[in-house]
Symmetry: C2
Subunit: 382 residues, 2 copies
């Protein structure tokens, strides 16, 4: 998929992303005002990640809402592939939206931990390299306060006993040509990674209800395949809520990159040290204090403002005020950063406190909770 | 692999097979007199399938014997992929040799039942089509009198909980290019079949000892890959004992084909009716009785003589006598067929009698026997 100036597959995102073109090329729908109104009508409020356009596109989310209105349930599914480093705050985005959707819509939520994917994708040399971060990532997710009876977290290598049967049915419908066209596989790709899409698609068949997947737009190729296959197996096409790729601290289009620790704020490690990274972040401030006071800042391109908007300022009124005070030059970068630093530090301290009881919660999410127990007894049927 | 006048992959065998060229092209070794002598020295006798050249080639079988002589154990592994029809007598060949090897060398024996392979290979339209024959095939194998504490029979979709981890390690070492070159995959191949070789290779890592695989030469491509990968994972290269493709009733080079029931003698069905098929078999007899008496027959190309030699006349002296009486014209086809008919009928009746207690044996082989129990607790480690 190297069609336009950028490249986007589940393994690689390169170049500056033109989301307008992406919507057209991927054939996804924009999240409209009507949809936002409908959410409000149904559950009384709308999550900032949606109305602020971080989740900007969807497939069949309107249908999910229509069906819900008629009394039909849906379930949530997303995943986290452990890699060389453990999670940073940008990784939380889909999970935080899922938590909100779970609460508001009383939906079951399935979290796949593909603990072999990065090994098959040759991002690490041994599967042992991933082991520590598999544990850590599951703990981070277990600290988010998800509903213990409506959440199931599973590792692919462990839940394979249940995943493999649906994956076989799915795999039968995916030829190598399709997989190559969708994911950009080459002759050098391992046969394990070639099969992997079937394992990522399989959880969309965990229930007879429609599945809703909040995830990064880079994961859409998997679920496009799901939507081709599902009707052939008599299951509903999965719906998707797609977020833009989350910026790192180097400004618009930059990434929180595990290989460049200064660009990412990790959930583990000393909260103060992690939060301090914000002081080196790219901002939309003027070149000098004088210039800033005179001309004002540009919050649109500012990493600091961006992090307020996606995670650290849920209040819309206050965010707008911050925006205006920056634009007018009233709010200076130093103060704005200092406040974000404090919020991030507090957020991390709070998260790390919750991590202490996450081990116990983890057991619920993975094995003992109501949904987990049901899934360990589940058999896929057509 | 369409290098010479015939094509041989695990899914397709076409054309008349030149075994001399196959030995060279595949790079396998002929089973020599020295090897036969060594077997005799070690266990006191040699199985007819070996000294009669049905098993004609090997990889590292000499090493297996050397290591055994020094007190080092090996284990046996082979498989049966259920298809549209259940098993016929030609399918028994590797299993009968394994049974003998298991007894003589006190070896553990692992039998893989890839109950999804033919579905992924698009030989059937639904996986349900295979279900009945999966059950039947396992029962047939459970009726062979294998050692219940040294045999483990497993279905891939069921044992996937244990198979997947080693398969991931294996798959990481197999690129699509390698798999395409080895198996002739195309763009139309399903991604499930592309991954499948990793699942067929995985059981060679069930023990730290060397694995010995008696199988048809068409299965060699899988294990050639195993021999590339095993040293990288710190495991021994698997050894192989390779049999020529077993003729059907239409003479040399013909197949027992499930789609042409007249060419195959099935283990199920009325024993008399199945055995009767031998009367229509291609023989090496003269055109007329007079001609046969004068010129003699050609046992080399005779399906009837062939079936005596592979399954129904273990006594070498008696087989030679039969050969000579045919060559001289003394033994006529009608009598020779009648005798084979009776032996086959008796064999099938006997087998079907044993089938009645096979259900109980099956539980041992799959779940309750000593080896089965151990395997359900086994964890793959590097």
């Amino acid at each position: 998929m190297k069609k336009f100036g950028f490249k986007i597959t589940p393994w690689e995102v390169k170049g500056k992303i033109d989301y307008e073109r992406l919507i057209k090329e991927f054939g996804v729908q924009r999240i409209t005002k009507d949809i936002i109104e409908k959410i409000k009508e149904l559950v009384g409020e709308v999550h900032p990640l949606i109305y602020r356009g971080i989740f900007f596109a969807h497939r069949d989310f309107d249908r999910i809402l229509e069906e819900y209105e008629k009394g039909k349930k849906f379930f949530l599914y997303t995943g986290r592939a452990p890699g060389k480093s453990s999670m940073h705050i940008a990784h939380l985005i889909p999970f935080l939206l899922c938590k909100w959707l779970q609460e508001k819509f009383e939906a079951n939520f399935y979290i796949e931990i593909p603990d072999e994917e990065k090994f098959l994708a040759k991002k690490v040399d041994s599967i042992e390299e991933l082991r520590e971060n598999v544990k850590k990532d599951i703990l981070h997710l277990s600290a988010l306060g998800l509903d213990p009876d409506r959440t199931f977290i599973f590792k692919t290598t462990e839940f394979i006993s249940k995943l493999y049967r649906p994956a076989v049915l799915i795999a039968r419908h995916i030829t190598y040509s399709m997989a190559r066209a969708t994911f950009g596989f080459t002759g050098e790709t391992s046969i394990g990674l070639i099969f992997y899409p079937a394992l990522q698609i399989a959880p969309t068949f965990f229930e007879r209800n429609r599945c809703l997947i909040p995830c990064g737009i880079d994961q859409d190729p998997y679920f496009r395949l799901q939507r081709d296959i599902a009707p052939k197996l008599g299951y509903p096409k999965t719906a998707e809520l797609l977020n833009k790729l989350i910026w790192g601290l180097e400004g618009p289009g930059s990434k929180m990159s595990a290989s460049k620790p200064e660009t990412a704020i990790f959930l583990e490690g000393d909260p103060e040290r992690e939060a301090r990274k914000i002081f080196e972040a790219f901002t939309g401030g003027g070149g000098s204090l004088k210039e800033h006071r005179e001309k004002g800042g540009r919050p649109e391109v500012c990493s600091v403002f961006y992090y307020y908007s996606i995670l650290f300022e849920p209040d819309e009124e206050k965010l707008r005020e911050r925006y205006n005070r920056c634009r007018s030059g009233e709010l200076i970068c130093g103060d704005c950063k200092q406040e974000l630093f404090e919020r991030i530090k507090k957020f991390l301290e709070n998260h790390q406190r919750k991590l202490k009881s996450a081990e116990k919660m983890k057991e619920k999410y993975m094995y003992d909770g109501k949904l987990a127990k049901r899934m360990w007894e589940w058999e896929f049927s057509l």
